[in-house]
C-alpha cells in the first residue's frame, strides 16, 4: 500500500519537470538553450515530450496496477463487512471506545428502555440481539461508507483507461483554412518532436471569417462560416462555428481555435530618399519583396486592420485609440542591420492635428520592443512629399544670409512650385511637418521610406479537429470519482453500541460510539444524541 504513496509523490515530482521545461519546442531552440551535453541528456530522458515518454507512461501504468491490486485485495473484505454487522460486543472492546457513557436507570425495565432508544434513534439503522441476559442494540449511519473507497479507486482505473483509449484511438490536430480559399483536408499535430499529418475523410471550406473587437482592441468574438464536402458533395452548408461552440461531423468535432493572416494583399509605396522618386510594390503577407535598385528586401510577416493603443501617459486615465491599418515586415539590406518594422497607412493625429506618419521599429525583432519613430511627413498626402522635395531643392539654391531667412525663402518658393497661387488652408501645419521631416528623415539609414498604401485583408481560420472515443469514459469515471469522494467524506460510517443490562433494582445502559471519519462532527453528534437520550430516559421518569 505504501507503493501507492510513493507513486503519487513520484508522479507529482515528475509532473513538475514538464511544466518548468517547455514541452514540444523546436529541437534547435533546445540545443541553443542547453548546449549539446544537457541537450542530449534531456533528449535521451525524453524530457522534451515528457508526458508521453516511456518512463512517465510506465509510472502511470504502475499506478493503475497498484490501484487494481488494492481494489482486488480490499473489495471482497469491505463488501463482507458492510453486509455483516455484529451486534454483540465484548466489554473489553467497548471500554476502549473514545465515546462511552453509562447510566443507571431506576424504576424501568429493559423493554421500555429499548422502545425508548429505538424511537430516539429512528434515523439510525438498528439491529438488536440478546446474549447472556443483556440486550444489545447496534445503530449504524452511513454503513455503506466503504463504497466510497471502492468507487474512488475504481474511478481512477476508469479515468486512466479512458485516457489510454483517447491516446490510442483518437486524434487531435489543427487545420488552417484560408477565408474564401480552397478546401482543406489535412490536420497537423505533434508527435514527439515531429509534426505529423493526417487526412480527414472530408474537406472543409471557409466561406467567411468574422471578427469583432472591443474598444480596447481585444478580440471580442470570432467565428467562421464553414462548408463541409464529402466526396465532392456539400454535406454541411454555411454553418457558423465559434469559440466554445463546436461543430460535429462524422464523429469529428471541429472547433474554432484561432485565427491569423491568410496572406493579405499588400500595396506599398516606397519613397526613395536620394532621388525623390516614388515606386509601388504589390505583395502579400508571408512573401518577400526585393527592391531591384537598392537590394533592400522586405519580408512581410503580418497585417492588422486595427491597432488599438493606450495613448495615455503614465498616471492618466486610459485613452484607447485606433491607429488604423498597419503592416509588419522584416527589413534587410546590404549594410543595414535587419529590423522589424511596422508601418501605418494613416498619419498620426495628436490633439486633432496631423503630425505626420509614424513607423515602429524593433531592433530585437520582438513585438514588445517596438519603438515609435515619427517621420514628420504625412506620406499619405502626395503634396507633403512633393513639398519636401521642392523645399530641399530650393534650400540648396537659396543664397540668403542667415539660416532662418534661407529656410523661409526656400519654403515660399517650394509652396509656389507645388501649389501655384492657390495655397491649401492648412499649409502652416504642412510647413511644420516638412521642417520636422527634414530633420527626422536624415536619421533614417534606409534608402527609401516604405509606407502602406492599400490592402485587401484575408484571414485564415485556425480549426482544431478531434475525435476522442475515450472522452465519455472519462466523464463516467469522473462522475464515479465525485460520487465516491462524497460518500467517503460526507457519509462517514458512525456506529453506536447500546448495551442494556437488567440489574437488581435498576437497568444499566452503556452507550459507546465510533466513527471512521470526521471525528469532530461525530463528537458533537454523539453528545447531542446522549443529551437527547438523557432527557428521555432520565428526566422523564
Amino acid at each position: 500500500m505504501s507503493l501507492a504513496i510513493v507513486l503519487l509523490v513520484l508522479l507529482a515530482i515528475a509532473s513538475v519537470i514538464g511544466t518548468v521545461l517547455l514541452q514540444n519546442q523546436a529541437q534547435t531552440d533546445y540545443l541553443a538553450q542547453f548546449g549539446p551535453l544537457w541537450y542530449w541528456t534531456f533528449r535521451s530522458l525524453g524530457l522534451f515530450d515528457m508526458y508521453h515518454s516511456p518512463w512517465f507512461l510506465t509510472l502511470l501504468g504502475f499506478l493503475m496496477v497498484s490501484v487494481a491490486v488494492c481494489l482486488w485485495r480490499n473489495t471482497p473484505r469491505m463488501l463482507r463487512e458492510m453486509r455483516k454487522r455484529k451486534v454483540t460486543i465484548e466489554d473489553k472492546s467497548l471500554q476502549r471506545f473514545h465515546h462511552l457513557k453509562h447510566w443507571d436507570l431506576e424504576k424501568t425495565d429493559v423493554a421500555t428502555v429499548q422502545a425508548h432508544l429505538e424511537d430516539q434513534l429512528r434515523d439510525w439503522e438498528i439491529k438488536s440481539a440478546e446474549k447472556d441476559g443483556r440486550t444489545y442494540l447496534r445503530a449504524d449511519k452511513g454503513r455503506w461508507n466503504k463504497w466510497g473507497y471502492i468507487l474512488t479507486h475504481a474511478a481512477i482505473l476508469v479515468i486512466l483507461s479512458g485516457g489510454w483509449i483517447s491516446v490510442h484511438f483518437g486524434f487531435r490536430g489543427t487545420m488552417n483554412v484560408i477565408e474564401g480559399g480552397g478546401q482543406e483536408n489535412t490536420i497537423r499535430f505533434l508527435k514527439g518532436a515531429k509534426t505529423e499529418k493526417m487526412t480527414m475523410p472530408f474537406t472543409i471550406q471557409c466561406n467567411k471569417f468574422y471578427i469583432d473587437f472591443y474598444p480596447t482592441g481585444m478580440p471580442k468574438t470570432f467565428r467562421s462560416n464553414l462548408s463541409i464536402y464529402d466526396h465532392g458533395k456539400e454535406v454541411v452548408h454555411n454553418k457558423d462555428i465559434e469559440v466554445n461552440h463546436p461543430l460535429i461531423y462524422k464523429g469529428v468535432r471541429i472547433y474554432q481555435a484561432s485565427f491569423g493572416d491568410g496572406g493579405s494583399d499588400i500595396k506599398m509605396k516606397l519613397f526613395h530618399l536620394n532621388d525623390g522618386s516614388v515606386s509601388t510594390v504589390d505583395s502579400r503577407v508571408y512573401s518577400t519583396y526585393r527592391d531591384p535598385k537598392t537590394g533592400v528586401s522586405m519580408e512581410f510577416t503580418g497585417f492588422s486592420a486595427f491597432n488599438v493603443e493606450n495613448m495615455a501617459g503614465p498616471g492618466e486615465p486610459k485613452n484607447f485609440k485606433d491607429l488604423g491599418p498597419a503592416v509588419t515586415f522584416i527589413m534587410r539590406g546590404p549594410g543595414l542591420k535587419p529590423v522589424k518594422v511596422k508601418t501605418f497607412m494613416n498619419p498620426f493625429e495628436q490633439k486633432g492635428k496631423n503630425v505626420g506618419s509614424l513607423i515602429m521599429v524593433s531592433l530585437s525583432g520582438d513585438k514588445k520592443d517596438f519603438q515609435p519613430f515619427s517621420l514628420g511627413l504625412d506620406f499619405s498626402n502626395p503634396n507633403d512629399w512633393k513639398l519636401l522635395q521642392a523645399f530641399g531643392k530650393h534650400l540648396i539654391d537659396s543664397k540668403e544670409g542667415n539660416e532662418q531667412q534661407a529656410n523661409m525663402q526656400a519654403f515660399r518658393a517650394a509652396l509656389h512650385e507645388v501649389f501655384g497661387n492657390k495655397l491649401p488652408p492648412n499649409f502652416q501645419h504642412m510647413g511644420i511637418r516638412v521642417l520636422q521631416a527634414m530633420n527626422n528623415l536624415s536619421n533614417v539609414p534606409w534608402p527609401f521610406i516604405p509606407i502602406l498604401q492599400d490592402y485587401h485583408q484575408v484571414y485564415y481560420t485556425g480549426l482544431e479537429l478531434t475525435r476522442d472515443p475515450g472522452m465519455n469514459v472519462i466523464w463516467i469515471g469522473s462522475a464515479i470519482l465525485v460520487i465516491g469522494l462524497c460518500i467517503m467524506f460526507y457519509l462517514p460510517h458512525r456506529k453506536l453500541w447500546l448495551v442494556i443490562e437488567p440489574m437488581a433494582d435498576k437497568v444499566r445502559l452503556t452507550v459507546g460510539g465510533m466513527t471512521n471519519r470526521n471525528r469532530l462532527g461525530f463528537e458533537q453528534e454523539f453528545q447531542r444524541t446522549l443529551s437527547n437520550l438523557e432527557k428521555m430516559l432520565v428526566h422523564q421518569q
Binding site: 507529482a12 509532473s15 463546436p246 472547433y255 482544431e464 465525485v482 470526521n518
Partner: protein, 410 residues
C-alpha cells in the same frame, strides 16, 4: 476533545422556521432558473441585467412564496419532516447570501450616473471603495485575532470575529457590485466577477474566511483565527499591490472565457484553494503549539488554544472539504477544455499543476487514513501542500505560459 462546546444553534434555524425558510430560498432559486429558461427572452444579450427586472422579481417572488408556504404547510402537517438537518445546516448560508445581496442593492444606490461611468476611468465606481473597506476589515481582524491570543477572555475576540465577518460581507458585496458595474460599462463587457487575478483574490479571501468562521462557530477555536487571517492579510497586501499596478480594472472577456463554465469552474476551484489555506493555518497552529509544548512553555494563551488533537482534526476536516471540491473543479475544467479546445487534458502548466496539487493532497489522505500518520509530519504536509497550491494558483500565472494565460498580469 472536551474543549469543544456543543453547537449552539439559533432557535430560528431549528424546526419549522428554518425548514420553511430553507424551502423559501430553494423556491427563489428555482424561480431564477425558471425565469432564465421560460421567462422573457434576453438572457443571452443582457446577462445579469436580465434578472434585475420587475418580471424577474415576480418569478423569484412566486418561487419564494411557493417554497415558503408549501414547506410551512408540510411542516405543520408532519412536524418530524421539519426537523430536517439539511435545512437546519443550510439555511444560515442562504440567510448570509440574501443579506449580501441586499447589501449590494443598497450600495448600488451610490453608483455614479450612467453618463459618468466610463471604461477608461473606473475610479468612480463604488466597488473600489468597498474593496478598500474589505482590506481594512481583514487587516483589522488579523490584528485583533493576534491580540486575542494574548487576551483570550476580553472583548477583543468578539471584535475580531465581527470584523472578519464585516470583511466577508464587504468582499462578497464588492464582487456582486463589480458584476453589476461590468454591465454599466457596456452590455458586451458584462461578465461574472471571476475573470482575473484581482477578482479571484477577493473570492479567495472571502471563502477562506467563511470556512474558518464556520469552524470557529462550530468548534469554538477562535485562536486559530490569528493564523487564518494572517494568511488572508498577506493576500490583501498582494491585492493592494495588484490594484496599484492597474490590475484592478474591469476588463472585457476574451472569447475563450465567454462561457457559462467560467461561473462554475472558477468558484469551485476557489472552494478548494480556500480549504487548503484553512488546512495550512490549522497545520501552522499545530506546529506552533507543538513547539511550545515540547519546549515546556507555559505561555498563557495555550490554555485557550485548541488542543493538538483538535488542530489535527480541523486540518483534516478542511482538506476533506477542499479535496472533493478541488477534484470536481478540475473535472469541470476538463469539461470546459473539452468544449472550448477539443481536448479534456493537454498537459498545459495550469492543468499539470492542478494534478500536482491533487496528488499532494491525495497522498496526504493516504498517509493519514491508511497509514495512520498524525501530528507533526501531517501538519508540515498541510503547510507544504498549501505552498504547492499557491504556486498552482499564482506562480503558474506569473511564471509559466500556457492556456490559462488570461490569468496573467497584463
Amino acid at each position: 476533545m472536551t474543549a469543544i462546546t456543543a453547537h449552539r444553534l439559533d432557535a430560528i434555524n431549528r424546526g419549522l422556521p428554518g425548514f420553511a425558510r430553507f424551502y423559501g430560498y430553494v423556491g427563489a432559486i428555482v424561480g431564477v432558473a425558471a425565469y432564465a429558461m421560460f421567462g422573457a427572452a434576453g438572457y443571452q444579450s443582457n446577462g445579469l441585467l436580465h434578472f434585475l427586472t420587475a418580471s424577474s422579481a415576480s418569478w423569484i417572488g412566486i418561487g419564494a412564496v411557493a417554497g415558503l408556504s408549501g414547506a410551512t404547510a408540510l411542516g405543520l402537517a408532519k412536524p418530524r419532516l421539519a426537523e430536517s438537518r439539511l435545512a437546519m445546516n443550510m439555511v444560515s448560508w442562504f440567510d448570509g447570501a440574501l443579506m449580501m445581496i441586499l447589501l449590494t442593492f443598497l450600495l448600488a444606490q451610490f453608483e455614479p450616473a450612467q453618463a459618468q461611468v466610463s471604461y477608461n476611468d473606473q475610479s468612480n465606481l463604488v466597488s473600489g471603495r468597498i474593496i478598500m473597506t474589505m482590506n481594512v476589515m481583514f487587516l483589522a481582524a488579523a490584528l485583533l485575532y493576534i491580540t486575542h491570543l494574548f487576551a483570550p477572555n476580553s472583548l477583543v475576540g468578539k471584535l475580531a470575529t465581527a470584523s472578519a465577518w464585516a470583511g466577508v460581507y464587504a468582499g462578497g458585496s464588492s464582487l456582486l457590485l463589480r458584476w453589476y458595474e461590468s454591465y454599466l460599462l457596456g452590455l458586451d463587457i458584462g461578465h461574472a466577477p471571476v475573470s482575473n487575478l484581482y477578482e479571484v483574490f477577493i473570492l479567495l479571501f472571502c471563502i477562506t474566511s467563511v470556512i474558518y468562521l464556520n469552524f470557529e462557530r462550530r468548534y469554538n477555536v477562535r485562536s486559530m483565527g490569528a493564523f487564518v487571517l494572517t494568511i488572508v492579510s498577506a493576500g490583501v497586501f498582494f491585492g493592494i499591490w495588484l490594484s496599484s499596478v492597474g490590475q484592478a480594472d474591469i476588463k472585457p472577456l476574451v472569447p475563450a472565457l465567454q462561457s457559462y463554465w467560467m461561473k462554475i469552474h472558477v468558484p469551485m476551484n476557489f472552494i478548494g484553494y480556500s480549504s487548503f489555506a484553512v488546512a495550512c493555518a490549522a497545520g501552522a497552529a499545530y506546529l506552533v503549539r507543538d513547539r511550545l509544548e515540547r519546549k515546556g512553555s507555559n505561555a498563557k494563551f495555550l490554555a485557550s488554544f485548541p488542543t493538538l488533537d483538535q488542530l489535527d482534526q480541523l486540518a483534516y476536516k478542511a482538506v476533506s472539504i477542499g479535496f472533493p471540491a478541488f477534484t470536481l473543479a478540475t473535472i469541470l475544467g476538463a469539461a470546459w477544455a473539452a468544449e472550448a479546445w477539443g481536448g479534456y487534458w493537454s498537459w498545459d502548466p495550469k492543468e499539470t499543476w492542478a494534478l500536482i496539487v491533487w496528488l499532494t493532497y491525495g497522498a496526504y489522505l493516504h498517509v493519514r487514513v491508511s497509514h495512520g500518520w498524525q501530528g507533526r509530519s501531517l501538519a508540515w504536509w498541510t503547510v507544504a501542500g498549501f505552498l504547492v497550491t499557491l504556486f498552482c494558483f499564482i506562480g503558474v500565472n506569473m511564471y509559466l505560459s500556457g492556456l490559462h494565460s488570461y490569468g496573467r498580469l497584463t
